[in-house]
Structures are given as structure tokens and as C-alpha cells.
Subunit: 319 residues, 2 copies
């Protein structure tokens, strides 16, 4: 296991910033993405080409995508909800379009206002647009580990949708999303393993939220099943509309810190990543969930007490 | 693995409440412990028989220990720093004395103001007192996974201390404490396995703090190494003097929730445990780290949107 390469994919600029009440200035967004690139992340979800009315926080999608500095080795992706978004993303030189639908019938209707069949048809259209422009396609399947309204989502349904994305849409990657933090380790291992057996040539990403504290445990369960791509958000920003006050995505620096200690090769410069996260509170106007920013890395040591020598001398004098 | 019995040991009434600025009334403490007993926890660290001047939050140790309702199947333990504490604990009918020293030379001096040799001698004295009173003895070894001032603590040193507790003091249990959240999963697996090989007849407890977000992952690593006893604090209360604002012990309800989903038998009634945690904010005067209290259990479902039927009808009408 030791030394195995894992790909850490940053989703904070999209999944995190989209739920903030404060608009982060375009220049600040660009600087953040540039710093995340410098940190060596394998993929960065830069923004979402969604309607500026629906998500005003990301209304500067074009400018951000065009003006970031592209680092070789980092893939720049964006969430694209429809054909109009796909046009904008392609014009802005996005490396990959990330398309989305839900594994849950109810969640797909409630969130996307389409039946799953309608969503799949829309995905097929945007996938064709991307492919004729030579742009990569990834499909993100929300509620792959459970739906906050329906409960369990049958694994067979999840796997069937995945087969259609790979077989009918020809997408290069699929992300199994734990949209509201319902995934648990044994389930993750089972589903990731089943996916990999069926689609060994397709990039599998696991996208966890830490809503119920199982985020990192789920990442490790995914690794045990052979998965090697994980979404995470710097600072742990993001959230869950069904759980006010709950934390969001698994925290990038916490995932990287743990994986590096375990001997995995993440390709990430943790010190640079932490710089990016430390900028967040001033930009979004509140504290961030990241515990690593508060506690420091494992070997960021603390000074001995000022009176340590005195304590020792006294103790030793007692024999 | 499925169905394996794991012992969840509650340390919140001691490790959590001792760092609170607000004094929790004695009657409230007793009611909390009684509710935790009802939840079916295997062991509860009820209090600490420390000097009331040093930790005024636990100045009611005797009354609490005497007036709680004892549930068969729950063991009631208390932290005991010295012979005076051991006397008080034994008089108060404590089932087990939990003795403590640090695996780190500097941390032992800085926190206990004794050399390790002096601490060991004190442990030997209190262990003898407990044993002649027919009371069980557990030794908690702080900084077993690293010291915030020294960094790594050699595993050989940790294991040597453990051998002395078992061989020379005759203690029935040892707790490897991750005092400041420095443990990581591969390290946990290695150390727990080494302990179990050397001391198959001694109860091993793993005590993790979630300071850097690795708590649950460390619990699962411990289980993989055969450990079956884990300390945790309800609500995730507690803290770390070296990381202001950092969370404390792993959160009992989050650990139980995850382990139950994975098919382990914890013996814990999660609904009752959550009742206890939900009482905490009013008693300690601030929000608690528990994410499960915020987000609810995995299958605590949410209602469909009020206009869901309308959304569906409209979507389906589009064909």
C-alpha cells in the first residue's frame, strides 16, 4: 500500500463557495485557485456554469476559469447543469465538464426539477457537446449512498446508472457522491468494489461529506476497495441543506494529512494547501470546519512550559 | 466481523466536564451519568478524585460516585492521580481506579510534575491500595501516539511501560491514550497489534481525540488490529490544551452510529445516548462538537418539499 498514488480533487471553489452567503471577489477566487494549483492538487472544480440568478456566488464563472493559471498536472473541471452551461464552460476552456444527476427519484425531482429520464437525456446532450469539442466528461451521481428523503438507494440502481454513463454517454469518469453524509465504510467498500469490477477502465471518484463524522473513514474504505480519486474541500467548507450547521465536504488538508502519515503519495504540498485554507475565514466571513488549521500538523510541536527546567530540577531533587 | 462485540467506554463526565469553565451541578451530573448508564455503555468514567483546588469542576466526585444508579453490565471507573485520590475513590465504591502517567518524559514532567520513575512508583502505591480493597486497576498511558512537545514517542518505550503495568503492577487493563490527537491509522494498527501479542489477557482500551479529524479512522484501525474497547465522550466534549478551539475526544454517538451501521454490536441504545448529548449545551453553556446531534442519524429522513407533487406533475407533463 505504502507509496501508492492517490488523486486528491479539490471541490471547495465550487461546492464550498456556492453555499456561502458572502460573494468572494473574483480576484480572490482566482488567487485561491492558483494557490490550490501550486499545492499540487490533481483536479480542481473551479466553478459552476450555472445560471447567475440561481447561484449568484458563482456568477463570475467565465472570468475565473479564463484567468486562473493552469498548472500542468492539474485538471480544471466545472459543474455544468445544462447545454447553456456546457457552451459557456467550453468557451472558457474548461478541461472537463462535470455533469450531475441524482440516484434518488425524489432528490432528482426536488433538486433538478426533472425526472431521472429527463436528466439523463440532458446529460446525453451536454456530453455530446463536450465530446465534439474534445472536452472530457465526468458524471456525478448524487445520493449514491442514500437519499435524505427516501433513505437507502438500491445499489443496483446506482450501478445501473453508472453503466449507462459509461456505456451510452461514453464518459471517462464517474463520481459517486455522498451528498448528505449518509455513506458508511462497509457500504463504500462494497459499492466502490462493484463499480471497479464493472468499469475497470473508468475513473472512479468518491465524494464524501463529513456530515456525520464518517468522511475520512469512508475515504479509507474506498482506498481498501481500490479507489484512488477523492473529492474534498479545503477548509472543509461547504454544507448540507438538510442539516443546518453540519460540516460540508471532507476537509482536503485533513484527508491529505492523514493519507501522507499513512505513507500514501498524494502529490500535495500540505503547507501550501494550508495557506489557502487559512485565507478562507477572512474571505467568507466566518470560521471554517478544518480542525487541522486549528490544531496544526501532527509534528507542528509546542514549546515546553517556561518553567520546565525548574519543574525538572525540583522533581529530580525528590529522588 | 459482523456482529462482533465492541465495548464503548464513556469518558465525557470526566474528560469532557473537567475542561468546561461552567460548573455542572451535581444533580445534573448524576442525571447525565444515569442516562449514559441507561444507554448501555460498557464503562463510564464518572469523575476524577483529584484535588478540588486543581479541578473545581469535579469537586463533587464523592457525591456523584455514590449517588449514581449502578446498572449491571456497566463498570464505573474514576481517574485517580495519587494515594489520597485512591482512598476517596475506594470509599466511594468506585469499581475501577484509572491511574495515569505519560509515555513522554517531557509531558510527564510538565503535566504531572514528576519524573516517569516517580510516577511509576506512585502508580504502584495506588495499585496496591486498590488491589487490597478488591478494586480493579487500569493504567492510562498519555501520549502513547506522540507528544505535543517531543513529537514521536518510540513504540518500544510505550510497550515497555505497558509490560511493567501488567507484569509489575498486575493491572487488568491498559489504555493507550492519544492525548492530543497525534495518532494515525497505520500507527494505531501497529501498536495495538504489538500490545495484543504481548498481553493477550489484558484489556486494551484505545483512547482517541479527534483533534486532527482522524478519530473514527483510528477506531476502525484499532478494530482491524483486534482491539475491542474504545473511549469516547458524548457530544464530543473535551478539548486539547495545545489546540484552542480543537474538538476533544472522539464523539461517542458518532462512533456508535458508524459501528452499528457497519454491523458491530456495541450494546448501546443510540437514541438514549443522543438524549444525553442533547442535554449538554444547556448545561455547559455552549454548542457541542457532535455532528450527529446536528445532522441526525443516517435514516432520520427529511420531508419532501411542500410543492413536490406539483414539481413531479410538471416534470412528467414535459414527457
Amino acid at each position: 500500500m505504502s507509496g501508492r498514488r492517490l488523486h486528491i480533487q479539490e471541490v471547495g471553489p465550487r461546492d464550498g463557495l456556492q453555499v456561502e452567503t458572502r460573494f468572494v471577489e473574483t480576484a480572490d477566487k482566482i488567487a485561491l485557485v492558483d494557490l490550490l494549483s501550486q499545492a499540487g492538487l490533481a483536479k480542481i472544480e473551479v466553478t459552476s456554469f450555472v445560471s447567475p440568478k440561481a447561484i449568484p456566488q458563482l456568477r463570475d464563472a467565465e472570468v475565473v476559469m479564463r484567468e486562473i493559471q493552469r498548472r500542468p498536472g492539474t485538471l480544471y473541471t466545472a459543474l455544468v447543469p445544462n447545454a447553456r452551461g456546457a457552451e459557456r464552460a467550453i468557451e472558457s476552456r474548461t478541461d472537463e465538464l462535470n455533469l450531475v444527476m441524482s440516484a434518488s427519484v425524489s432528490h432528482n425531482l426536488a433538486n433538478l426539477r426533472m425526472t431521472q429520464a429527463q436528466s439523463f437525456a440532458a446529460l446525453a446532450e451536454t456530453a455530446r457537446m463536450a465530446q465534439s469539442a474534445g472536452v472530457a466528461v465526468n458524471v456525478s451521481l448524487s445520493c449514491s449512498f442514500g437519499c435524505p428523503m427516501e433513505g437507502d438507494v438500491p445499489e443496483a440502481a446506482v450501478l445501473d446508472w453508472c453503466s449507462r454513463y459509461v456505456g451510452e454517454l461514453g464518459c471517462g469518469g464517474v463520481t459517486l457522491c455522498d451528498t448528505t453524509g449518509m455513506a458508511y465504510p462497509t457500504q463504500v467498500e462494497r459499492l466502490a468494489q462493484a463499480f471497479r469490477e464493472r468499469h475497470p477502465g473508468t475513473e472512479l471518484t468518491l465524494h464524501f461529506h463529513n456530515t456525520r463524522g464518517m468522511g475520512l473513514a469512508n475515504v479509507l474504505a474506498g482506498i481498501a476497495a481500490g479507489a484512488d480519486r477523492f473529492d474534498a474541500s479545503f477548509g472543509g467548507i461547504g454544507g448540507c441543506p438538510y442539516a443546518p450547521g453540519a460540516t460540508g465536504n471532507v476537509c482536503t488538508e485533513e484527508v491529505v494529512h492523514a493519507l501522507q502519515l499513512m505513507g500514501y503519495d498524494t502529490g500535495v504540498d500540505l503547507a501550501v494547501l494550508l495557506q489557502a485554507s487559512r485565507r478562507l475565514p477572512a474571505l467568507i466571513g466566518h470560521d471554517i470546519p478544518s480542525q487541522l488549521v486549528k490544531a496544526g500538523r501532527r509534528l507542528d510541536l509546542h514549546a515546553l512550559p517556561a518553567d520546565f527546567d525548574e519543574i525538572r530540577t525540583r522533581a529530580e531533587a525528590r529522588g
